[in-house]
């Protein structure tokens, strides 16, 4: 194989939450990989396990209820799952970073922006002239008037600005992978576009791989090279953006694409698919999408579907469906 080795390879990841009502599996055997400099989109309805997948990779699942039950997460060839908390602390920020969804709550309200950026620099072994380095970093993420803003508190900034600061923090250690969990959902449309451009710019400059989690297929079309579609804790389809958009091979993906009127417009209509995703403790034997699938039959309801080649026939296009051949 001439393909570059993936920088991040997740294999058969299973994550559980211990709730008072019993343990539920929120990530149920997820595998994907991301290459250097590549942007992978993860899409799926609310509750499909996108964030739990991201938090598993970062090893910051909700405490004390979250736990990786099995699987491996290879970052640059090293499995993160067995690492101790101390070892993991050294990897976070330096080798893998993350941008959270809501800029209004992700910065610490009692410290200045500068303090929080400098902290990230210090974690990454930067010494001396830290204030100037923080200002430079803020400039890099297009924070206007960085010399003054570095002394501001988060509550004195707009959402778009705060998300830029979060971006600056995530690149302070020049990680090889950045996971962005719906980083633009809380922003206005115009600010969203600027932020996406910023991410593209960062990627071009640093060659970092990005895992971009979103509801928005328009953003996927614009920003991502490949995508995985998640449903009820599983990946139901995976492929290049072109292949999946041109030849969707899972009924859920088809429905998602149908609910997007214009690929370049911000949409949030995943909910337009009739019915709701199953409650995770109700998932039975067969295909989890069966209750909402127009093609579902008895086999779908009783036997879990195999992973098959996607309709594009490209070697990296897959879907988990009994009837993907019947989609036209």
């Amino acid at each position: 194989m001439t393909q570059t080795d993936p920088i991040l390879r997740v294999e058969n990841l299973r994550t559980e939450l211990a709730l008072s009502s019993g343990a539920i599996e929120v990530v149920r055997g997820v595998s994907f990989s991301v290459n250097k400099g590549e942007t992978l989109g993860i899409v799926g309805e609310s509750g499909s396990g996108k964030s739990m997948t991201a938090l598993s990779i970062m090893r910051v699942l909700p405490r004390p209820i979250g736990r990786i039950a099995s699987g491996s997460i290879h970052l640059n060839g090293r499995d993160l799952v067995p690492l101790s908390e101390t070892e993991m602390t050294r990897i976070r920020g330096r080798e893998i970073g993350m941008i959270l969804q809501d800029p209004h709550t992700s910065l610490n309200p009692v410290y200045t922006v500068g303090n929080q950026v400098i902290e990230a620099l210090q974690i990454n072994q930067q010494r001396g002239g830290l204030l100037q380095k923080a200002i430079d970093l803020l400039k890099k993420v297009n924070v206007a008037d960085a010399e003054r803003r570095v002394h501001a508190f988060p509550h004195q900034m707009s959402g778009g600005m705060k998300q830029r600061v979060v971006g600056a923090i995530s690149i302070a250690g020049a990680p090889k992978v950045i996971i962005a969990d719906e980083p633009t959902t809380a922003l206005d449309v115009t600010i969203q576009l600027q932020y996406l451009e910023l991410l593209e710019q960062i990627q071009q400059e640093t060659g970092t791989a990005i895992v971009f989690i979103t509801h928005d297929l328009g953003i996927v079309a614009r920003l991502c090279h490949r995508l995985v579609v998640m449903y009820a804790g599983r990946i139901v389809e995976e492929g290049t953006v072109d292949d999946v958009f041109d030849a969707p091979s899972h009924p859920y993906t088809v429905a998602l694409l149908h609910s997007v009127p214009h690929v370049d417009r911000k949409v949030d209509r995943l909910y337009a698919i009739e019915g709701n995703p199953p409650a995770l403790h109700e998932i039975g034997q067969g295909c989890s999408f069966a209750p909402r699938c127009p093609l579902a039959d008895e086999r779908c309801r009783t036997v879990a579907p195999p992973t098959v080649a996607g309709r594009s026939k490209a070697p990296d296009h897959f879907a988990a469906c009994w009837k993907s051949g019947e989609l036209a």
Partner: protein, 306 residues
């Protein structure tokens, strides 16, 4: 920041004024002060003389202003029980004892409760958390005087490790201070724990973790500083209940502070002294709350900038 503090100080002064008004009115509501001052068989001439001397023949608001004027310079009249001393002198002499004991109790509360509350939150649902919960439960269901007596009985009477009561050094202070602090430890631990639990769920804690901050720093730098607002708020209440608690505990342990003084003065109908104690307590309480406001502003920039 400065305007914030000025505003708070102004509020404190207004509260103080209201308190003086209440204290003053109480002294008039609780019957004619003369009854307390004069022997039962006083002659009309004596009554006349004392009335004039105290200014009781003047309009009430003039009396209040005089009272304020005197209070401002610490003049609350002469003590009736401790002859030859002014009320202010009597209280002033007892104040250090109360501050020592209260200070030690405060120190114990903070040093025990804050780390315990923080750790109970961090290790939620573990044995440590259970221990903290039991302490909190016990502390809040045991009355301080009863705990004081039990402590005295076990550690002073039976084991003889500490003196039973009276004024003295650290060994005299430990039992009463623990008795005073116990309830506060309980309340403060519970508050700190729940405040920390809430903060530990915040997104900025998640961000601190994903950016590679060490766990200890996540807890103390990122979480505790935010959670601290809650125990700091309680500090005002804490100071107040330590003062009122001193009345009970000082009496139980025969500790000659202002709390003990208050009881003794009430029993001896030494009204000027009672009045002075009340005003002193009010002043300390307002001071504690002013400190709370300052701490607030130091902790949280959002408060500072409003």
């Amino acid at each position: 920041m400065l305007t914030f503090l000025l505003k708070r100080t102004l509020y404190a002064l207004i509260s103080l004024l209201v308190i003086t008004l209440i204290v003053f009115s109480l002294s008039h509501l609780s019957g004619n002060p003369l009854d307390a001052l004069l022997p039962d068989d006083a002659t009309p001439a004596q009554i006349e003389q004392v009335t004039r001397h105290l200014g009781l023949d003047r309009p009430i608001w003039v009396q209040y202003l005089t009272f304020l004027q005197n209070a401002a310079v610490g003049d609350f009249g002469d003590s009736l029980k401790w002859k030859g001393q002014t009320a202010a002198e009597v209280v002033w002499q007892r104040l250090p004892a109360t501050l020592q004991l209260g200070g030690l109790a405060l120190l114990i509360s903070i040093v025990v409760a804050l780390p315990l509350g923080v750790m109970a939150a961090v290790y939620k649902n573990t044995a440590l958390d259970a221990v903290a919960t039991v302490i909190a439960l016990l502390g809040q269901s045991l009355p301080a005087f009863w705990l004081g007596l039990v402590l005295m009985w076990i550690f002073a009477v039976i084991l003889g490790w500490f003196p039973t009561s009276g004024y003295g050094g650290l060994s005299h202070m430990i039992l009463p201070a623990i008795a005073m602090a116990w309830f506060q430890v309980a309340a403060l631990t519970r508050l700190t724990r729940s405040a920390m639990l809430e903060v530990l769920d915040a997104e900025y804690i998640k961000l601190a973790r994903v950016k590679g901050v060490r766990e200890r720093s996540v807890i103390w730098k990122h979480a505790f500083r935010n959670a601290a607002i809650v125990p700091v708020t309680y500090f005002g209440v804490l100071a107040g209940s330590l003062l009122t608690g001193s009345v009970v505990i000082e009496t139980v342990f025969n500790w000659p502070g202002t709390g003990w003084l208050a009881i003794t003065a009430i029993q001896g109908r030494d009204f000027p002294v009672v009045q002075t104690v009340v005003l002193f307590f009010a002043l300390l309480f307002l001071l504690a709350n002013l400190i709370v406001d300052i701490l607030y502003a130091l902790i949280d920039p959002r408060i500072r900038n409003t």
